[in-house]
Symmetry: C2
Subunit: 480 residues, 2 copies
Amino acid sequence: MPPAEFQRLGRETSDWIADYLASVRTFPVFPSLKPGSIRDALPAEAPDFGDSMDEILADFRSVVVPGLNHWNHPAFYGYFSVTASGPGILGEMLTAALNVNAMVWRSSPVATELEDVTTDWLRALLGLPQPFEGVINDTASSSTLYALAAARGVAYPEVQEDGLFGLPRGRVYASEQAHSSVEKAVMAMGFGRRGYRTVPTNSRFEMDVDALSETIRRDVDEGVRPVAVVATLGTTSTASIDPVGEVAAVAREHGAWLHVDAAYGGPAAMLPELRSRFAGWGEADSVVVNPHKWLFTPIDCSVLFCRRPDELVRAFSLVPEYLSSSEAASARSLMDYGVSLGRRFRSLKLWFVLRYFGRQGLVARIRHHIELARELASWIEAEPGWSVLAPVELAAVAFRYTSEAGGSHTDELNHAILERVNASGAAFITHTSLNGQTVLRVAVGNIKTTREDVEQLWTLLREVAESVEAEGAGAASTGS
Amino acid sequence: MPPAEFQRLGRETSDWIADYLASVRTFPVFPSLKPGSIRDALPAEAPDFGDSMDEILADFRSVVVPGLNHWNHPAFYGYFSVTASGPGILGEMLTAALNVNAMVWRSSPVATELEDVTTDWLRALLGLPQPFEGVINDTASSSTLYALAAARGVAYPEVQEDGLFGLPRGRVYASEQAHSSVEKAVMAMGFGRRGYRTVPTNSRFEMDVDALSETIRRDVDEGVRPVAVVATLGTTSTASIDPVGEVAAVAREHGAWLHVDAAYGGPAAMLPELRSRFAGWGEADSVVVNPHKWLFTPIDCSVLFCRRPDELVRAFSLVPEYLSSSEAASARSLMDYGVSLGRRFRSLKLWFVLRYFGRQGLVARIRHHIELARELASWIEAEPGWSVLAPVELAAVAFRYTSEAGGSHTDELNHAILERVNASGAAFITHTSLNGQTVLRVAVGNIKTTREDVEQLWTLLREVAESVEAEGAGAASTGS
């Protein structure tokens, strides 16, 4: 692409982004279309001769934009609500143009060192002690897999050489509310579903530490090796916080690796008033925190902190001649800390975000999200027919509407509410299951979300519930 | 960030990128600095109150840019030379701003369907048959891990439930020239180093298929299960192409999964004159091709094609309630095809690139790179003291300078040439080892690289070799 053409198109694209960020509220959050409709509208093959970029960008606006679920919309409350902030987007623009690969120091000196710097800044912001060393991965799924692979190497010193064949069974423990990525990591590393055991939670959906202790003890008696325990600080369904200090004590007692999944909740440790809820997480062997969740950084950016980085490296270091270099002794080779050899310059956007907002700016925004979530929860609690099903400690609310007429269709009713809220285009929410019941979830996390947005959501929820019930639509819902 | 501020800064950043792309030749490819110097120049902690974005961008220019190894420079010949093209950068800009997450159809309808469309376009461009289904991962390391995990599930139907504990040993085979990511994947999935066996190559550094056959047969006799064979189409050291049709026959004979690592070489299958070198790859169970390597797409974008996508899904599908949705029956849930739950909208940049260049544009550029590499190889071959050590089938040249005085310091001499070329800032090259000898590598792959660039590189190499030899510097080199 000739420089003059890039200059024109770059400005045009940047202006489009500026307009989008300014006007995102005018879009329906969730599109109204059927699976397959976008695919069917596109040609079956790539063009033989190139299309003009103007044509392609026109198609972006007419085909792609109407098919978006707008994660960067202030009324997006699904999954965990996230934000691509201005500084984060600028960082990604530059990252794409530079296109460096932070495999080893030599392949990208500044990407390697800025990853040292930004992850250490984040460590200090979170109050994790110095021994923790950070690396940036794509997602918490990868970070957790890498941490558990290090744990596997500690539990079975022979595994790097011999593999798991013929070794006594090992197991990883987490609460029933732990994220599916933990079980997925356990399966990926060859432990199978039987190598994973979930522990019950209390009424607040926090890990029952006595049950953990009892489960491990029983397993040990049966010859099963307790390889790792995963504590979750900010569970997916209810943003519950496992009592990590007590979990740490149990893990230590059994010589198991403690991995902390704070992918979502981690940033809340920056708030002095919440710091006590994280007490003990500094005793973990590894902690994952995702700046792309609640730190206003575009996807993807997951920081894995490890207090025993040598064990991570032992699990993953393989240095072929074509990647060897004389700097390996004096600088980290980030490829050694996980599976992915290719590594984008993800620290650049994180550096921009941490500097632009500063500690105080980040704290204020996270605190505001928690306040909004608690306020919404208080409205829900005060309304007849509605109930909040878990304490709101962070910025996610799990709640449910129960028909005033009672009846057995409460799950269907809530599914119908969910579908209708999302079909309205005015907000996007998701659901979960708690104690076998369908539960609605609202996660507040977009930097643009205001109190008025949350008020409008609450009005919408009540209106939708009323109309769904009036129509008896719940019973006919096919679920979400 | 207020919309007006983003508009101003977005334009400024976009203009900076346009200037950078136009003037990248004026930068030294590789920076002159010591490990740690960037880190030491930066504050030890994040600011308490935010910095202005103007200040941050000024630091980007004064701190980050001088620390770059410029992968997007036309004289970057290291590793595999790559390109962030204009359309690819525009795609990444939009991806960052939209910030969607293609976990399931509902979480991002258009990202899911555009991934269907673009990977199918690429499949057809490469001449892979219809049964292959594509998904986009971050890197070939991940793609290979996912493919081998599927292979593991086929070889051990009980592994998803029971893990590898107590199962008979299994093994994955690849050539001595296979990429380190294969061994890393084997270790990550719990097979250990003994679960990986390399097979010798012929004088062209292609897998010796008789040796493969013999190795597997011997292992089977000893009760080892042949789980997968990996054929490489475009090896890292020499861009050699394993005889994939013959490898497929051996894999089939033993019921082993055939994974093809065409991360680098795959795009060359678009050239009619090279198609025969890929004969048989359509019989593979899985194939990885990285558009971020030789298809002008910014890092990261690795396409894993799978002819048995059900086996991939079997290895990785775990659908918790909070991710269930009614569309799962009518659309792919891309989270089910690998470890990473979070998935950036990577298909957008690939769509832009495939459309902007079109088949003919891509073919012409790839063909030009191969011509440049072959021309460089012909110059090297014709020069006394220099030799090319492998056939140049794609766009990488492996070569070596041998002192006219002979002597035992040839490895050191080549290391010294490497260091001095890179220190000049005029070009960046890397090295490898072939038959125990240090070898220099030049990979041509940047879209801006011209014949003049390659001529200048060749002049530089000869000048550097002469001066190194004149100074006797080779003997004093400490290696790279």
